[in-house]
Point group: C2
């Protein structure tokens, strides 16, 4: 029996698909010769009480973008180019911290709730986990993700891990903030809340209570297991849709007040400098955004033929309602299929069949959310905000495919 070695053929499900592989037919017995792993016993379950990825996936790791100038005030990006679906495994969730990752003994950890409350309370982790809990799948994105404001700082060899990898998504479990604050009793004048971390930076942010009361959780688990140390073990604030740094990790204190606390991280940092020299302060929501992850910039050239285009879309304001994809630099657009369930403040995977015929192409995606907001072009974003900001870039990005199949970031 002769067996053609091939992928998607002309008679496949998808109109327009072409034969991508032209390797000669091979004989069945030649190709199905018993490989060494079928001729031997494999590893025992006893060798893997807590598993690891295959050794063949060793390149799939978190990486800093460039060398961090201070190793304990740094970030490490998620390899979006190697991921599928929407869940990011805990070992690859992006990291951003200001004084490194502490190793906290959960039995010694405490959360103090005080300030403008009727009853100041001090909680152990056991106290926290006895409360009613919720589990929700949400994205988390660093406000500094996608640093494409200043053209001169852009490296054309960046991958999607470099440009968008301060973005991850997980199922978070914890206690609603509203439950814990109801225990303490919020005084009528309390409108802001200070959240403080137990790390060496004692990271602090002021949070407007009204904006988060219906959705904030004190999270202790991530994709089923207790939260990883880099994500705030044993407890973090989690604010769905807010910029990542406000979901304060290693949470040890919540203090209520009638005004923001004007901490370092909301005055000298995490503000957006506008062209007129004024700063946008307390810009919390990560706005509608999307990016194509397959294909995306890579040292490996594309092969002509059929492949699926897929990527991620998200909005801190709600649900994604549509993603359009262009393969000709924005000349024409096609609606991508959204993978269900489409959840609020969650990554949504989109997909579009594509046949690359071998010529130059320019791949773009543009997301819309259920508030009607449409992801802007980079030009429109810069026209509105200038180029002094370091944060909240949600513009459309372009992947340039040249005739050889090389894919690169283009501005």
């Amino acid at each position: 029996m002769k067996i053609p070695k091939r992928g998607i053929g002309r008679r496949g499900l998808l109109a327009g698909a072409v034969l991508p592989v032209t390797a000669p037919p091979v004989a069945e017995n030649a190709e199905l010769a018993t490989p060494p792993w079928t001729r031997s016993q494999g590893a025992s379950v006893l060798e893997s009480p807590y598993g690891r990825p295959s050794p063949f996936e060793g390149r799939v790791i978190r990486r800093p973008r460039g060398n961090p100038p201070v190793p304990t005030a740094a970030s490490a990006n998620t390899p979006l180019q190697d991921l599928h679906g929407i869940i990011v495994p805990n070992g690859l969730h992006y990291i951003r911290d200001h004084a490194g990752t502490p190793t906290i003994d959960p039995d010694q950890h405490r959360l103090l709730v005080h300030g403008e409350v009727e009853r100041p309370l001090l909680f152990s982790m056991d106290d926290i986990t006895r409360f009613p809990s919720v589990s929700r799948i949400h994205f988390l994105e660093c406000s500094g993700n996608t640093p494409l404001w200043q053209a001169e700082q852009v490296n054309p060899r960046w991958t999607v891990q470099d440009t968008h990898g301060l973005l991850s998504c997980a199922e978070w479990t914890g206690v609603p903030l509203a439950t814990v604050l109801a225990e303490a009793g919020v005084k009528p004048g309390a409108t802001w809340m200070l959240a403080e971390g137990a790390d060496g930076a004692a990271m602090t942010r002021s949070i407007p209570l009204a904006a988060v009361m219906d959705r904030a959780i004190l999270a202790y688990a991530q994709n089923g297991e207790r939260m990883r140390p880099e994500q705030g073990y044993p407890l973090r604030l989690f604010l769905p849709g807010f910029e990542g740094n406000t979901s304060v990790k290693w949470l040890r204190r919540l203090k209520l007040a009638d005004a923001p606390f004007e901490t370092r991280e909301e005055t000298s940092k995490y503000t957006g400098l506008l062209p007129d020299g004024s700063a946008r302060q307390f810009v919390f929501i990560m706005e509608v955004k999307s990016v194509i992850t397959h294909p995306s910039p890579s040292p490996t050239a594309l092969r002509p033929g059929f492949r699926e285009i897929s990527g991620l879309a998200w909005s801190g304001n709600g649900r994604i309602t549509g993603v359009e994809v262009s393969t000709d630099g924005g000349g024409t657009w096609q609606s991508a299929v959204l993978q269900t369930p489409v959840l609020p403040q969650c990554l949504t995977r989109f997909r579009l069949p594509w046949t690359w015929s071998g010529g130059p192409a320019r791949l773009l995606s543009r997301a819309t959310d259920d508030t009607g907001a449409v992801q802007p072009t980079r030009d429109a974003l810069i026209a509105a905000r200038g180029t002094n900001s370091d944060y909240h870039f949600n513009g459309i990005v372009k992947w340039q495919v040249d005739a050889s199949g090389q894919v690169q970031l283009a501005l």
Copy 2:
């Protein structure tokens, strides 16, 4: 300022909650003395390219139930008592294999599709991943999970990891089987499909095509990353709702035919022996089932007071529509809250507030799915099927709480 150290108080959100902690008030400055991890820099992101759980979570691992007689034909159970939400992290997904876990080079791996097809095809992993893909969150359960058929084999010290831990849930990404078979062209008479693994057992099962065509996928990713070796890296068949062994791992061959192949794993194994000596063969669907995971059998005694009861419900036939919980051995039942989204062939987390007043209690859960099927009692299940079977136990289980707070399995 005096701060009472406490959890959920009498003025809490939940009617009937009582003060669970009676520790004396503590001074704020005493309890919020700066811990050592706030006085030092933590670990750099560079130390954690692929992260691990906190060292304080070292007990949360997969464990075999007892000592496996053959270390490479064994299973290892998921620690459900330590998990939250519905996603199981990849490192803790249960394992069942027949010749250990092989280490397969994905570049050398091939999938042959042959038998009653118009065009026999041989696929590389690159061929497979160029196809249009889908991502879905599904449970996987071993048909041998919950071995409570024979009372004399039950160990009263089993935990929920022992009784129900051959159950996990993940987001699986892959190519619809229907897409791949359409490429090969299914001949009219083909009704069954042999799936063969590349492990040392060359694990084989016959699958009825009509029952899986709308939902089967050839999966290559699990919770975002490429599938773990123990789960079938680089490729497995995934049959939502079917008993786990039919989702053949390390998939290397699909052969179509007009009848089942009557392999060892569907004749001498994975059949259900009935009281009259006949065997139920090709019993694929994992029927409606649930279990309480918090609280569940543990060496640590419960403390009186408020706590949340929570657990997992699932059905291979569809969606969970309701879970009832009893704390008095089945005398009275209350409806639990189901965590949304409730997805088909997926774990559903249920929750119910509970105050344990210190006396004996007996905790049960009973699930219903959208076909109207209700989880049976163990007695009803045994009346129907006898006690000769090793598979497909989906009966209600009971956790007995004694006056000291000890929780144990009871039949």
